[in-house]
């Protein structure tokens, strides 16, 4: 370990932030994606262009918004447009580089469920539902998913496909006519998964410092594919942690 200590949520967020670059337009969901995107904007990617589905284009919040419709987003945006315009004029035509999504369940092809646990008609747990996710997953050039890894979330088969990842495998997105490339990375509190270039199956490519591949396998509800060489995620820098903690108001771990 190092002198700097951090939580598994913190390295997840920092790793997600690092996936964003200065020239990107990013469609941000609330919660972990918003934290990561705002961290990136405050560190290595000041030009990162944040879009929230409430209609704010180029929002530059100085505090973390608690919802996708916070006043701070409107006040700091380049412009605020209507909700139909965000979806029709900005998301749908493929103008957004990266869509950031969370998940309640995810399967090996990065299909996401945020709708129900159990049967749709007679659910065990009714979740909030789709929101903007199906079209974010379909139309952004790339998608990044942030989700805590556990066998409850990483399931053999999602109970409901709210947002399509790679369907039942390579080639499905093209068959469905989806125009974005799909999830290019799933970032968890244990490591990072990427779709196999051949099969599109999520493959563990990196584990966070202190995490074993076995831990990741144990937290996955299917036989987890693992890259021949599993990297160790670079640790958060003290600067990243300082900015992150100033955003979240968290005290050092």
């Amino acid at each position: 370990m190092t002198a700097v200590t951090w939580s598994s949520d913190e390295i997840m967020t920092v790793t997600a932030a690092r996936a964003l670059t200065d020239d990107m337009a990013c469609f941000v969901g609330i919660g972990l994606p918003s934290t990561a995107a705002n961290l990136a904007r405050r560190t290595h990617a000041p030009g990162l262009w944040l879009i929230y589905e409430s209609g704010t284009l180029g929002a530059k919040p100085d505090t973390l918004p608690l919802s996708i419709g916070d006043g701070i987003l409107a006040e700091t945006a380049d412009t605020v447009v209507s909700v139909p315009e965000i979806f029709n004029y900005w998301l749908q035509p493929g103008r957004i580089d990266t869509g950031f999504l969370g998940a309640a369940q995810i399967d090996r092809y990065a299909n996401i469920n945020t709708t129900v646990i159990g049967d749709y008609a007679d659910p065990k747990v009714r979740l909030p539902g789709a929101g903007g996710a199906p079209e974010i997953a379909a139309s952004c050039r790339d998608v990044i998913v942030i989700v805590r890894q556990s066998t409850r979330a990483f399931v053999e088969s999602v109970d409901f496909v709210t947002s399509v990842g790679y369907g039942s495998g390579a080639g499905d997105r093209e068959r469905l006519g989806l125009r974005g490339h799909g999830p290019k990375r799933v970032i968890t509190d244990l490591g990072v998964l990427e779709p196999d270039p051949e099969t599109a199956e999520l493959t563990l490519v990196s584990v966070h410092p202190g995490v074993d591949v076995a831990d990741a396998r144990a937290a996955t509800g299917w036989e987890l594919a693992v890259a021949p060489e599993v990297a160790t995620t670079p640790e958060p820098t003290s600067e990243e942690l300082a900015v992150l903690r100033s955003l979240t108001g968290a005290s050092p771990a």
């Binding site: 409430s54 029709n88 749709y120 008609a121 909030p128 789709a130 079209e135 379909a138």
Partner: protein, 276 residues
């Protein structure tokens, strides 16, 4: 044109109506929702992209028989427990749902506002929403042969929105995040705007959306009428109230008591004056 809130609800919202109370985090017409509860409306088909805690309250109070929506949650907090209880256990009455994505709902309002029966979008493809939701179909482009998604127009019997201001002629002015409110009002047969204040003259504001008086059936003054949501330029979001709702709403009895005290006992006085 300018009416008391209770009169506006009495005249515009009837049992069995399809009612949209729109608002996207900002400017949620909470006071109007509470007045619907107080007047005991039943069998409503409620419509909203983002049903949040005021919809949880309407559902828990037994006003709704159906919900048309795209994301039902307590933003930044979690799930809606009354909504869950109605769907999972049929309490207090069963709740039918018609479930879309945001893009689909937004386009349904646009079609409704535009006087056409459907909208075309790229959406839903490959998702499981297509099975249970009958209002998602396909349409073929007559020029390219490409297959796209079609959703039907939404035309509520009545749409209710909250705005910052109206003038005495009934022109309504809102700014900040204005969501899908313009489309929801224009799509409706009738509409009610609750406002923070009625003024003599609407001073122009950058980013404003004006709903001309011809698009609005009635206006009711309801200062603080979107609390615990917020009204840009008037008051901030009461995040604590959203947090507190989680505990209240988890339990049927706690909910019933809260409803008695905070809604059925009568309109709450405005919690905030002007000036944020």
């Amino acid at each position: 044109m300018i009416v008391p809130l209770d009169e506006g609800i009495r005249e515009l919202v009837h049992d069995g109506d399809t009612v949209a109370l729109e608002g996207f985090t900002h400017l949620i017409p909470v006071a109007a929702g509470h007045e619907i509860v107080r007047q005991g409306r039943r069998d409503l088909t409620l419509v909203r992209m983002t049903p949040d805690i005021v919809y949880d309250q309407l559902i828990g109070a037994g006003c709704a028989r159906k919900l048309i929506f795209s994301w039902g949650g307590n933003p930044g907090v979690g799930s809606l427990h009354r909504f869950r209880d109605a769907i999972q256990a049929g309490w207090p009455v069963p709740l039918e749902i018609e479930e879309h994505s945001h893009a689909g709902m937004a386009n349904r309002y646009v079609a409704g506002a535009s006087g056409v029966p459907f909208a075309v979008l790229r959406g839903y493809t490959g998702t499981d929403l297509i099975g249970p939701t009958a209002t998602i179909k396909t349409v073929t482009c007559p020029f390219t042969g490409e297959e796209l998604t079609a959703v039907p127009a939404l035309n509520p019997d009545v749409t209710i929105v909250h705005a910052q201001r109206a003038d005495r002629a009934g022109n309504v002015q809102m700014w900040g995040i204005t969501g899908v409110q313009k489309e929801a009002v224009l799509a409706a047969q009738r509409s009610l705007a609750t406002v923070e204040e009625v003024v003599d003259e609407l001073e122009p504001v950058p980013g404003q959306v004006i709903l001309p008086h011809r698009a609005v059936t009635a206006v009711a003054e309801a200062p603080g009428g979107s609390h615990p949501s917020y009204a840009h330029g008037y008051y901030s979001r009461d995040n604590d109230a959203y947090q507190a709702w989680d505990a209240i709403s988890r339990d049927r009895e706690a909910f019933t008591q809260w409803l008695e005290e905070h809604v059925l006992a009568g309109p709450t006085p405005a919690p905030h004056g002007k000036g944020q």
